[in-house]
């Protein structure tokens, strides 16, 4: 990276953090601050201030750099802080600052966290962050009903498709989650939508960008953009809100005529249009966990609720901390790939919040939230008392 570019990033951070009033409003919903020892450097303005001084005092290398790295990479990038700061009129782009700090440390070869290095290597080599072979990406199709898979168009080479279902790495490779893409496929087929799935789908690049590897992200975005253009795609429906967010907000050159939607948006549209008519069949008490990248990052709060109310009616209950105040599951910002010491696990806390309102099902719409919450149910010893379901699964079950 050009020295000038690094200087620009440093300047941007100094300027942005200088505006902070240190009002501490941002700590109110910060999941990191909640779940760790409560040190100031574990909250949004503390983290950004640490970065500020790291730059001012040129302490981005060696042991200092590593200490700063540990602070910066603990953030889940959920955006709760930005929401609060916006409300309290300072409107400091805290997450952006933290991510810029990560970019700086990567360029200084201090970041990312050692365990995340193989994630980046895997993204580059295999097109997914999990170290799984690229060739096995569509193997999940073998686990679902052949009648359903028969209707899927596998897009590669010269094949075109107007609507693309972007499955995403977690839904493709995580065996415990295979029911999620399976349900989505079932719903698509039920609606008779003409759609395709990429035969050689590669990661959207979100983990690279969140970890501070802007160069790798650029390359991945460029390649994916070309693929989308070649297949003449007009609409991309994603399973993960992270992919959706990445395409809408981070991809620099995606053609304007491509509509990016999370599947909840697409399905809600289809429900309004009468093409999708799930039965009001869910009797169990169900609550909804707002994924940060669907809610806080993209302001999609009501659409998933509309769908759930349609299916569950009065059985839908709201947790105390919902929408903008929803507690982050702890999976975003690269946290899926590294262990941060927590006094109280975020996922377990969230499960308790669901139990507190008598929920029997926690519904969510993000594969990482799903994974984290499922884990939280297990580790808190609540298996059998409550379970996690993706909204897609609930819709499919109600057809």
């Amino acid at each position: 990276m050009e020295e000038q570019h690094i200087e620009e990033m440093k300047k941007k951070v100094i300027e942005a953090v200088s505006k902070c009033r240190i009002c501490m409003s941002c700590y109110a919903d910060c999941p990191l601050y909640e779940s760790t020892r409560g040190f100031v450097t574990q909250g949004p303005s503390g983290i950004t201030r640490a970065l500020y001084y790291g730059i001012r005092w040129d302490a981005l290398d060696g042991k200092d750099g590593q200490d700063l790295r540990d602070i910066l990479y603990a953030c889940t990038t959920c955006g709760s802080c930005e929401v609060r700061c916006k409300k309290s009129a300072c409107n400091i782009p805290l997450v952006e600052i933290i991510e810029t700090g990560r970019k700086l440390l990567v360029e200084k070869m201090v970041g990312p966290m050692p365990k995340q290095i193989k994630v980046l290597e895997s993204l580059d080599r295999n097109g997914n962050p999990y170290g799984e072979p690229a060739e096995e990406r569509t193997q999940w199709l073998g686990s679902i009903d052949p009648q359903d898979t028969a209707k899927i168009k596998l897009v590669q080479g010269d094949l075109k498709t107007e609507t693309l279902l972007f499955v995403g790495c977690t839904s493709s490779y995580e065996r415990d989650l295979v029911n999620v893409p399976g349900s989505i496929v079932k719903i698509f087929n039920h609606m008779g939508v003409d759609y395709g799935i990429l035969k050689d789908e590669k990661c959207c690049g979100d983990p690279a960008l969140r970890l501070g590897e802007a160069g790798l992200f650029e390359e991945m975005a460029e390649k994916n953009t070309k693929v989308f253009e070649q297949a003449e795609i007009k609409r991309i429906v994603t399973i993960s809100p992270h992919c959706m967010s990445s395409f809408s907000q981070d991809y620099p050159d995606l053609p304007n005529n491509i509509t990016i939607q999370h599947y909840t948006e697409f399905f809600a549209e289809q429900m309004s249009a009468g093409n999708l008519k799930p039965q009001k069949s869910l009797k169990k008490k169900v609550t909804y966990h707002d994924p940060c990248y669907l809610g806080k990052h993209n302001d999609i709060y009501e659409t998933p609720r509309q769908i759930l109310t349609w299916i569950a009616g009065d059985s839908f209950v709201e947790m105390e901390h919902n929408r903008e105040q929803a507690l982050c599951c702890g999976g975003g910002g690269g946290r899926m790939f590294v262990e941060i010491e927590e006094i109280e696990r975020l996922s377990e806390k969230r499960v308790q919040q669901a139990l507190d309102v008598g929920a029997e099902i926690i519904a969510t719409a993000c594969p990482w939230c799903y994974s984290q919450i499922a884990d939280g149910i297990k580790t808190s010893g609540n298996e059998g008392k409550i379970l996690v379901k993706d909204i897609a699964e609930l819709i499919a079950e109600s057809l």
Partner: protein
């Protein structure tokens, strides 16, 4: 302080293994490469010396066009000089020939420390370091797990990993050669932007083996691979446990173990 690090690129054998038509070797055409894992630790250790005492680092490798990527990686990681002893058929060279080429190169240089990895992931001979040190007449220490102290231009104290949990500590006069064991440090992440910059702006010093006055062509190998084959997996005693599902197999193996009174 001058430090030289020898780097080897090894092919990545992830998928199915294909042998050459004459069955003398593994087909490396079309394979991807990466830097030998041990050498990454050696490289990181050298770069640590650069940060701590301002050592000047030279990365050297014997290889063809494909090895350029490894050299750019070293440049991106922060070495001061990257040297490629260009030889397309380098994959056919044995450890002794490589050591000879490196010896010729190194004898034209002044150095304080020469680092190699313990062995390579592909051939795993672990020879180059020892042969090179012997030919250069410098003291050597193999399987170094820690550099305990360094008196630049004088001596270095290292801890070496031995079997059964033993280790020893040796002092070597400089110049010396060390073969570096994995786990000695945490190799840094070299970003895509750094690699791009290295590819665009970095320069690799290219040397032909002929420049190294090795007489007529390449040094004669001390050993050549005459046949390659895929080992049959399994042994006479191996029994695969039956079962349709994993749960079936699980039950069956537990039954067998109880049956044999192992459990």
């Amino acid at each position: 302080m001058e430090v030289i690090v020898a780097i080897r690129q090894t092919p990545l054998l992830d998928g199915e293994i294909v042998l050459t038509a004459d069955e003398k070797s593994v087909e490396i055409e079309g394979l991807k490469y990466h830097i030998n894992e041990w050498d990454l630790y050696a490289l990181e250790e050298a770069l640590r010396l650069k940060t701590e005492i301002g050592a000047r680092i030279t990365a050297v490798s014997v290889g063809g066009k494909a090895t350029e990527e490894a050299m750019y990686y070293c440049i991106a990681a922060g070495v001061d000089e990257a040297v490629l002893i260009e030889e397309e058929s380098s994959y056919q060279l044995d450890s002794s020939s490589i050591a000879t080429l490196l010896e010729k190169f190194t004898s034209m240089r002044v150095f304080d420390l020469f680092l190699t990895g313990v062995q390579s992931e592909d051939t795993g001979c672990g020879e180059v370091g020892a042969i090179l040190a012997t030919k250069l007449c410098v003291p050597q220490a193999a399987v170094v797990m820690k550099i305990k102290s360094l008196n630049p231009e004088e001596s270095i104290v290292v801890q070496r990993e031995l079997e059964d949990g033993f280790s020893d500590v040796q002092r070597l006069s400089l110049p010396a050669l060390l073969t570096i064991q994995t786990g000695i440090n945490q190799p840094r992440y070299v970003s895509t932007m750094h690699l791009r910059k290295a590819r665009n702006k970095g320069s690799i010093m290219r040397i032909s083996p002929l420049d190294l006055s090795t007489g007529t062509g390449l040094p004669a190998p001390k050993k050549t691979m005459k046949r390659a084959f895929l080992p049959e997996v399994g042994s006479v005693k191996l029994e695969f446990i039956d079962g349709v599902t994993a749960a079936d197999k699980a039950k069956n193996i537990v039954d067998r173990l109880y049956g044999m009174e192992v459990l």
